[in-house]
């Protein structure tokens, strides 16, 4: 069978896809945090340009963004190879979409929580990460997990620029076998690739659901410096 015959070639494409999507997810998260910070900045000359940039990125087709970064940035003296060019453009797009998810999540935490954190002496970063973020997580995670699957799917756009990922491998395999053996195996190869992508996205959703369950659990008090989660005594009694 064709797929088994060229499995190492396709496997290499899959590994590249995994690497490319990891870069896109990491970059997307970075830009999402940066844009979210920009969107909630106090100074208008920072907030408004970021808002305009985010809106443009959300309204322009992703395909156009990918091609634009690839064709226009060299004019500004920034030349990337197809891999980093597609990684950058999809990351920025993911960041624009993620920024709104993160901001909406942070806004969903009642302002009383922020005030309570301040009154307990948790200022700035400490209050944000110990009080606000854990409570925002149940709101942020579901849309964020679906954004992560979108980013994984968007890694296939690398094929348009010629990155050697799964879709590009499939295209090469189809071209070569069509020339060498006659008769296009396109439906078989593309069908198989669709299934692989589906399995990939499905496992990401499953992982995300696990993470969501973790954050949905009520808080337990941690015991001092050890950092180990030990249930409070009263809680133990009530459960036994």
């Amino acid at each position: 069978m064709l797929l088994l015959e060229f499995q190492s070639f396709l496997l290499e494409g899959l590994l590249n896809t995994l690497f490319l999507s990891s870069v896109m997810i990491a970059g997307g998260t970075f830009f999402a945090v940066a844009f979210a910070a920009g969107l909630s900045a106090q100074t208008w000359w920072l907030r408004r340009p970021v808002y305009a940039l985010v809106e443009c990125l959300r309204d322009i087709p992703l395909m156009v963004t990918v091609l634009m970064v690839y064709f226009v940035l060299p004019h500004a003296g920034l030349s990337f190879n197809p891999f980093w060019s597609s990684a950058l453009s999809v990351s920025v797009w993911g960041g624009a979409n993620g920024a709104h998810i993160i901001r909406a999540g942070l806004m969903s935490v009642p302002s009383g929580q922020r005030e309570a954190a301040l009154s307990s002496g948790l200022r700035g970063w400490k209050g944000l990460f110990l009080v606000i973020v854990p409570q925002a997580m149940p709101v942020i995670l579901p849309p964020y997990v679906s954004l992560v699957t979108s980013l994984t799917q968007a890694s296939s756009l690398g094929a348009v620029l010629g990155v050697n990922e799964l879709l590009r491998s499939a295209q090469i395999l189809i071209e070569q076998t069509t020339i060498a053996r006659g008769g296009s195996p396109a439906y078989l190869v593309y069908g198989a690739i669709l299934v692989v992508y589906f399995a990939l996205c499905w496992s990401i959703s499953a992982l995300g659901a696990k993470l969501e369950r973790h954050f949905a659990k009520p808080y337990q008090r941690t015991n001092g410096k050890t950092g180990l989660a030990k249930p409070v005594v009263a809680l133990q009694i009530s459960t036994t």
Binding site: I60, M63, V64, M68, F71, H75, V160, A186, Y190, C201
Partner: protein, 219 residues
């Protein structure tokens, strides 16, 4: 930025825009029909149909759109289904948008409470009257914001069809860049055109939404 060049390229861009709009509107129309039908099937209570629709939605949403396009354009001919570039594009875009519209309309149907059913039964409405005059308007209202999002996304996603060589807006721009190397001018103009399209459609959607959100009153 060379505006004279943009002006010179404008007729080409407009033919591209025309193709973008034709493909998008066909896909929007078909996907709304299929979405409504799929949503009705999914809530019909007939188990095999429900599973089939759910599997379709999950599969389309879980796979890259670009691979779907390639599967339809390059894969289907070897199974005996040969379509032109244009119709492959319409089918791919419709297949993608339908999955999302099914979800939107399903949520809309779910938003119509059980109480409506009892109310129309007590008023003596027949089943079809209940579906057409009560459920449909209410479900449309509830589904409209997310359906508008999908419609806008459909227009944006028509840009992917340049990958199979459909001569639409993005294809025209990339094609001209290959000859003239005026990347900045071309991308600036298609970005502006896409933004105008998106804002127009979401503006229209907002107007319809406001009109529909007025409570139904006696005229």
């Amino acid at each position: 930025m060379d505006f004279a060049y943009i002006l010179e390229a404008l007729p080409d861009l407009m033919t591209g825009l025309k193709m973008t709009l034709i493909v998008s509107f066909l896909a929007i129309f078909l996907s709304c029909l299929i979405g409504l039908l799929g949503a009705v099937l999914r809530t019909s209570g007939i188990k095999p149909l429900q599973y089939a629709v759910t599997a379709y939605v999950e599969f389309i949403r879980g796979t890259p759109y670009l691979v779907q396009i390639f599967f339809i354009f390059y894969g289907l001919p070897s199974l005996g289904l040969r379509f032109s570039i244009f119709w492959s594009g319409v089918i791919a875009l419709t297949a993608w948008a339908s999955a999302f519209q099914i979800e939107n309309f399903r949520a809309g149907l779910a938003a119509v409470g059980r109480g409506m059913h009892d109310a129309s039964a007590s008023l003596g409405l027949k089943r079809w009257q209940h579906s057409v005059f009560i459920v449909l308007p209410l479900a449309t209202r509830a589904a409209l914001p997310s359906a508008m999002n999908t419609i806008v996304a459909t227009v944006k996603n028509s840009a992917y069809l340049q990958a199979i060589g459909l001569v639409e807006l993005t294809f025209v721009a990339v094609d001209r860049i290959a000859y003239d190397f005026r990347a900045i001018e071309m991308f600036a103009s298609i970005c502006v055109i896409y933004l105008i399209c998106v804002f127009t459609i979401s503006g229209l959607g907002y107007m319809v939404e406001r009109r529909l959100s007025r409570p139904f009153g006696g005229r």
